[in-house]
Amino acid sequence: MSKTGIIQSLWDIMKREIKTLIHAPIYWFSMIVFPLFVIFFFSGLMNEGLPTDMPVGVVDLDNSTTSRKLLRNYDAFQQSHIVAHYPDVNQARRAMQKCEIYAFMYIPQNMERDLLASRQPKISFYYNNSVLLAGSLIYKEMRAISTLGAASVGSAKLQAKGLTQHQIKSVLQPIATDVHAIDNPMLNYNIALSTTIIPACLALFILLVTAYSVGIELKNNRAKSWMRMAENRVLIALIGKFIPQTIIFTLVVWLYQYWLFVHLNFPHNCSFWAILLIGFVLVVAAQSFAIFIFSLLPTLRMSMSICSLWGVLSFSISGFTYPVTSMAPSLQILSWLFPMRHYFMIYQMNILHGYSLHYSWMYVVALLAFILLPLFMLSRLKKIFYKYVYLP
């Protein structure tokens, strides 16, 4: 086939594909409407960065000036908000079981008196760890307020003993800590989660739509005419068919990247062009992976099932919430089979932290390797398109 012949048949297949995409509403939804929904859904969900004003309760049996002052100061903290006072621990616990509050502080009777008499009273915090994020954030604030409370009492006493401010500081906290969360100093959960959840969702759509649109050719008995248009060249058929989809998906991914890294100004330490390039590579890698899966399991339902398995597992196994290094060793190896895992590694190493490619090249190579997968399957795909029939 001559060069112009190839271009002609590519063009014809592309036109055919565009026609298909426009006339089936399911493509509109799963390529544009749902992905856009996901982008704005997640970036809006966590737009505060950290949850604020989470409801907490108080059991204040002391009810003294000191305890009220402590609670007032505590209420001023950003993440906790005192919504109720309970007469005893049991009622506070029940409120916690109903999730009306995420935690409560227990102040024992005679706290003020014991404090003044140097009997070292003890206050307790009970926090709900079944809602892990709320529990641990509130715990941090409760610990901070009691350290501050102790410090204000302690410093008054030490001052009376004749110690200077510097000495008091060194007595109350001889070793201070100074924590630097590199590139996400405010511990913004939107930055930590949206940067991977959203592309993982987009990759899920790409996997499913790709498998669907290949499989549907068999289902609708259009595979043979499609192959004829490509003059029996599987590669031409695939490229022609997927160029329009690649363009749409790449635009969607770029929109997401623009929205997060430019509009919402998420931290990134590489050029925006590099981010766009990585986005494009992710799209093509996911498409190629789905074509590869289809060539292994050439039925619509099996290939879509495997693609959804892969897509859904990506949320866990890319390791952006629970790190892969803490999973079973066999799972750490398995994680290499997921395109999203490599995207996440490239994101956190090159985009977020701005390390050079020198450190992340194997993830880039792995992601590019997914693109080559369908090339090994061309002859098998040809057989599939000519011989296989659709199984419901």
Binding site: F29, S30, F34, F41, M46, P51, D53, M54, M96, Q97, S118, Q120, P121, I123, S124, F125, S130, V131, L132, L133, G135, M142, S146, G149, A150, G154, K157, H166, S170, V171, L172, Q173, P174, I175, T177, D178, V179, H180, I182, L187, A192, L204, F205, L208, R301, M304, V312, T321, Y322, P323, S326, M327, A328, L331, Q348, M349, L352, H353, Y359, P392
Partner: protein, 381 residues
């Protein structure tokens, strides 16, 4: 109705696609997820030490850091830049920097500062390293301040250093395990999603197979819509009662997750949850033109649904529109009811709100399903 029920039963078992969703996925997914998170917490996060102090006190600090379960000292470097190399190579996740004045500060009663630099690729690395460093510096600090003061008694020193003590009691998930926190919610979500996928695929097939693209076939029409809907519901309900018992009772036992709920409590949640989900799925069936469409429409919703259920992200931080969306889906109430009873030991009285909401959904989606399944054009033909 029995006939419809038997018909549907036969259809389910002759359709491999539906079987995958009704049996294979519910059997495998929960086990797979539990396996992923079975280590529960992030232990021994690799950290590199930059010790400019090189004193016995700094070595004591390092020894204690290394002894905590959260942190593991992998290397010592001369300066921050060299330590950063290890972070870039992903061999360490944090740097602990001890300044040269560390020991001198402590001996001359000045407050000293230890710095921690954390790679933010995962919040859990941050949490582990911070916990380890905070605990060790507080412990060592209080020992130092006790030895600094020349009071009459040991007890007096302790009190001067910490006049107010505190204890923290993590409830319901004492070790703060990631699996114990996430898995109960995921289990209910798996039931919800597979049920919708299976029913959606089954009704999509119905649509494809008859000429008018209708949900009710000509053979079934004479029975009346209510009987058809109820007959199908009975079939799905019976299959899923068994599957849900495996998911909500056997899986937590197999993987040692928290299980505070009794058998009848779980059943009391499952009955309205399954019914609401089935009717909801039957209502959604009107969107499925082809059997495969259900996968394109439903699968991606899993992660958003999990997030608005209020377990990964506190419900108090969801704004009104997200909350409104979450009230549409049975999963929100099912997940909350199950987590409260199962992980937090609430009684059925404590989850009245969720149970009521589920029963309301049962009623609403039953009526909607009747409306959707009503054959509009049969009379005209």
């Amino acid at each position: 109705m029995i006939k419809i029920f038997l018909n549907e039963f036969r259809r389910v078992f002759s359709d491999t696609g539906v079987l995958i969703f009704f049996f294979i996925v519910p059997l495998l997914y929960p086990a797979l997820y539990s396996w992923l998170y079975n280590n529960e917490i992030v232990r021994e996060v690799p950290a590199v030490i930059v010790d400019d102090s090189k004193s016995s006190l700094s070595r004591e600090l390092i020894r204690r850091l290394n002894a905590t379960q959260e942190l593991n000292v992998v290397d010592y470097k001369e300066n921050i830049d060299e330590a950063r190399q290890l972070i870039m190579q992903q061999e360490a996740r944090g740097i602990v920097y001890i300044p040269s004045s560390f020991a001198a500060d402590i001996h001359s009663h000045r407050q000293t500062t230890v710095s921690l630099y954390v790679d933010m690729s995962s919040m859990l690395y941050y949490k582990s390293l911070l916990t380890s460093l905070t605990n060790v510096t507080l412990d060592m600090g209080s020992e130092i301040s006790v030895s600094m003061m020349n009071s009459q008694t040991h007890r007096e020193e302790q009190i001067a250093a910490a006049p107010l003590s505190y204890e923290a009691v993590p409830m319901f998930n004492p070790v703060g395990g990631y699996g114990c926190f996430l898995i109960p919610a995921v289990l209910m979500l798996v039931i919800h999603q597979t049920l919708i996928l299976g029913i959606g695929m089954s009704s999509g097939t119905l649509r494809e197979n008859n000429r008018g693209h209708k949900l009710i076939t000509r053979q079934e029409a004479p029975f009346g819509i209510a009987r058809v809907v109820l007959g199908k519901t009975l079939c799905y309900f019976m299959i899923y009662l068994v599957m849900s018992c495996y998911i909500t009772m056997a899986i937590p036992r197999m993987f040692n997750f928290i299980q505070l709920a009794g058998f009848w409590q779980i059943i009391a949640i499952l009955i309205p949850f399954l019914l609401a989900t089935i009717f909801f799925a039957l209502t959604l069936s009107c969107l499925m033109q082809q059997r495969e469409h259900v996968m394109l429409i439903i699968i991606f919703t899993s992660v958003p649904l999990l997030f608005i259920s209020g377990i990964p992200w506190p419900v108090s931080s969801l704004n009104a529109s997200y909350k409104a969306i979450s009230y549409i889906f049975p999963s929100t109430f099912g997940i909350n009811a199950f987590v409260k009873v199962n992980s937090m030991g609430a009684s059925l009285g404590d989850i009245l709100f969720e149970l009521r909401a589920l029963w309301i959904q049962v009623a609403v989606y039953f009526l909607l399903a009747l409306f959707v399944w009503k054959p509009k054009r049969w009379n005209k033909e």
